[in-house]
Symmetry: C2
Subunit: 426 residues, 2 copies
């Protein structure tokens, strides 16, 4: 209506307008839908009529691993994180196989992934799990995104890499060629199964690789432990690792993103790490980065400490000493004996053990022998060296502290006064 | 030879004389050997010629559990630890079945066991694992013991219990009756298998019950974790629990011996606890003692803290601040810029990042932008909010502290001086 106003303001991005029945189709990223829903689904339907040869099945599994590694060892650990360096042949292999996973170009993927690490869980995170598990899984691709919302990152290194630039420019050819034509051609030429190769090693395999690697953004931010940091969402879980070729130790990964490993223990499942390591042995990968284990262990210790401190605050540790009333030694003795309360003084603190005499594992007689007395020595080994548990229990029975130390100190002071020497703190 | 001398000193106990070829047979406790080696072994040999009926096999397993519970729920948790109270019928059942395990009378067993708890791992412990795993398993029964060595304990409560006293006085009859005659009679009278009952439900079953319960003294002091206290040998392990009807959570048990449970989680294997609990539901057991979970969790937290503290001392946390040289702000600037060292000041501390510039995950340019400057804000979110791992790494690069705070403080002081207001601490 008022065209001048509309010209003055730039037209708002579609993501800034609420979704309605009228505009919902504008919110959807239809191209992505074709790639991650349409094609995979069509493969599932085609599979109903396509017989599966064992050679094709085997080849689909092998090619699944190749294209999966293209993403994990290539897109992720090599290009997004520079956690090692690769020779040209290895780069080419990873760029082609990664393209065959049909998850976008290296350049596009790595830019988003760097933003994901720099702005984890914030609005600038392209696949923030705070927006829902399904959103982080593939909702962020199905729906259009405002490119301005996503955090800015430096990808100058990628723009200087000839293979990355070439793959980005020719992405549609690479995706089509490596995603469907190449796997179909292999099974077509070698065991004459063009259709099976297309459906199983091509399309169905794309479905599995996509869903598996998407789990790094959803499952790995949702399921598992947080041994290194719990301020953000990344988590470690063996299930996620099994699904994602070893990317499941994601709490570690977000804390030490430049480490070429995701799993640091030899017995954990991280085939991507093994793949990189083998390439190193073959001279194709070098400069594998590893965080010093000292730093890793420090992180673990600090996080454990944090958990313990949280736990500690939920427990009853007895009245703190500074909140206890101060008692005179003579008052203690009087109350313990005359008034018949079962008070025991241990290490300068008065405890009311009335409710525990009958339950005392050492018997009624022994605990009663401490009533109205300084039982420090008895309790700490003179009669029985009580366990840590007994000390803990004792601290919940505190009712006061004795002024100026215990019997011995008071006796010494009295002696000193008698002899005319002034006591220190009076 | 000099008989007067010999009369003056009491004759030394056999255990105080060294073992020789001449006296070794005097060191052996032959009676015990018959009970725990001779009879069981004879059963194994007899089994070679004795056919096994399925009814007898089933009965042997059932009776194995009955006699095992006699030891664990009876001898151990009821009489040695008074962790619950039992009605007379239940006491009788436990006293008879426990006798059928052929491990000595309640009175003898509980006295030793109380000494084991009070003097764990010391010379007064009757089956101290410090003397070897085999010794703690059954060496202490095979070889004679000096009764004076074993720690004294109070068993007045047991001496007042009619069933305990009766069982002790008639122990040989009970052991024989319940150990062999009763199990043989059951299978003899019910399915006419006297010999099989004697060999399998009697003798072979004794062998298994004995070896299994002996594991509490050996395996449970040797294999597993120490979640509550690591000053003594007791350990928690599910394997020991499986073998010993649930007595394998032995670290817990030594810390909380008056708790009727050994396993505190519902999913842990502690059939002895379940047995006691069912008896409670049937009105046969009451007054089941349980340590407050607050105390249990306190123990767990403290032990974990101890482990963390130990771990912490093995790690490099960077030079402590108080050991760093003090630098002037101007010296820092000069050294960082003129001398070309890559020094970055963050939170009042000077760091030498020279060796890290090339590896910086945020790129060379960003880290270099902090050289010679107060990069506190940049490092803590101004440009990028570094992870905990980055803070840890940074602390290992410390080389000095700035005198009198950072740039801002120094600038403020200079301003104040210009205006003639004396700075506070000069
Ligand atoms: C005042 C003099 C006391 C004496 C002489 C004494 C003596 C003993 C003895 C001899 C035992 C060993 C029982 C056995 O294993 O056979 C024992 C156990 C125990 N006593 Fe005391 N006790 C005293 C006070 C207390 C107090 C005030 C508490 C309150 C917390 C307490 C708590 C325990 C606990 C929890 C045990 C079980 C074993 C352990 O956890 O260490 N005792 N006591
Ligand atoms: C002085 C100014 C500095 C700036 C402006 C800066 C900036 C950055 C940025 C932007 C990132 C994010 C990289 C990404 O995920 O894309 C980063 C990561 C990192 N920086 Fe710095 N950095 C500075 C100094 C340092 C220093 C002195 C250290 C030494 C410990 C350091 C250690 C790290 C580490 C370990 C990472 C990896 C991510 C993390 O663990 O937080 N940075 N830095
Ligand atoms: Fe992530
Ligand atoms: Fe990553
Ligand atoms: Fe024990
Ligand atoms: Fe015990």
């Amino acid at each position: 209506m008022s065209s001048t106003k509309a010209e003055a303001r730039p037209k708002p991005h579609i993501t800034d307008t609420p979704i309605t029945w009228a505009n919902w189709h504008q919110h959807v990223n239809w191209l992505n839908c074709v790639f991650i829903i349409g094609i995979p689904l069509s493969g599932c339907i085609a599979a109903i009529w396509t017989p599966l040869k064992w050679q094709t099945a085997l080849w689909a599994v092998i090619y699944y691993f190749c294209t999966g590694l293209g993403i994990t060892a290539g897109y992720h650990r090599l290009w997004a994180h520079k956690s090692y360096s690769a020779s040209r042949p290895l780069e080419l292999f990873l760029a082609l196989c990664g393209g065959g996973a049909v998850e976008g170009s290296i350049r596009w993927w790595s830019r988003d992934h760097r933003a994901h690490h720099r702005y984890t869980d914030t609005n600038k995170d392209p696949y923030s799990v705070r927006k829902g598990l399904l959103y982080s899984h593939f909702g962020w691709m199905v729906m259009k995104q405002n490119p301005k919302r996503i955090g800015r990152t430096d990808i100058s290194d990628l723009n200087e890499n000839a293979i990355v630039v070439w793959q980005h420019k020719n992405y549609v050819h690479v995706a089509l060629g490596m995603g469907v034509i190449f796997p179909a051609a292999v099974s077509g030429l070698l065991w004459n199964d063009w259709v099976g190769g297309l459906v199983y090693a091509g399309i169905m395999r794309i479905l599995f690789v996509q869903q598996a690697t998407f789990c790094v953004n959803s499952l790995a931010h949702w399921l598992g432990d947080q041994p290194f940091d719990d301020r953000n969402s990344p988590r470690d879980h063996v299930l996620t690792a099994l699904v994602t070729l070893g990317e499941g130790y994601h709490n570690f990964h977000h804390e030490f993103p430049s480490d070429y490993r995701n799993a640091i223990e030899w017995w954990q499942y991280d085939p991507t790490k093994w793949f990189i390591w083998i390439n190193k042995k073959m001279g194709l990968a070098y400069n594998l980065k590893q965080f010093r284990s000292n730093e890793i262990e420090k992180g673990r210790v600090q996080q454990l400490q944090k958990k313990i401190d949280q736990k500690r605050t939920t427990l009853d540790w007895g009245t703190p000493l500074e909140q206890l009333p101060v008692m005179e030694w003579d008052d203690f003795k009087e109350q313990a004996q005359t008034e018949g309360r079962a008070l025991v003084a241990i290490a300068g603190v008065v405890h009311d053990v009335s409710g525990f005499i009958a339950d005392h594992p050492g018997g009624k007689a022994l605990i009663q022998s401490g009533v109205g007395k300084d039982a420090t020595a008895m309790f700490n080994g003179g009669v029985y060296n009580h366990s840590n548990a007994a000390h803990n229990l004792l601290s919940t029975m505190r009712i006061g502290v004795i002024r100026g130390g215990m019997e011995v100190e008071i006796w010494k002071r009295a002696q000193a006064e008698k002899e005319g020497i002034p006591a220190k703190d009076e």
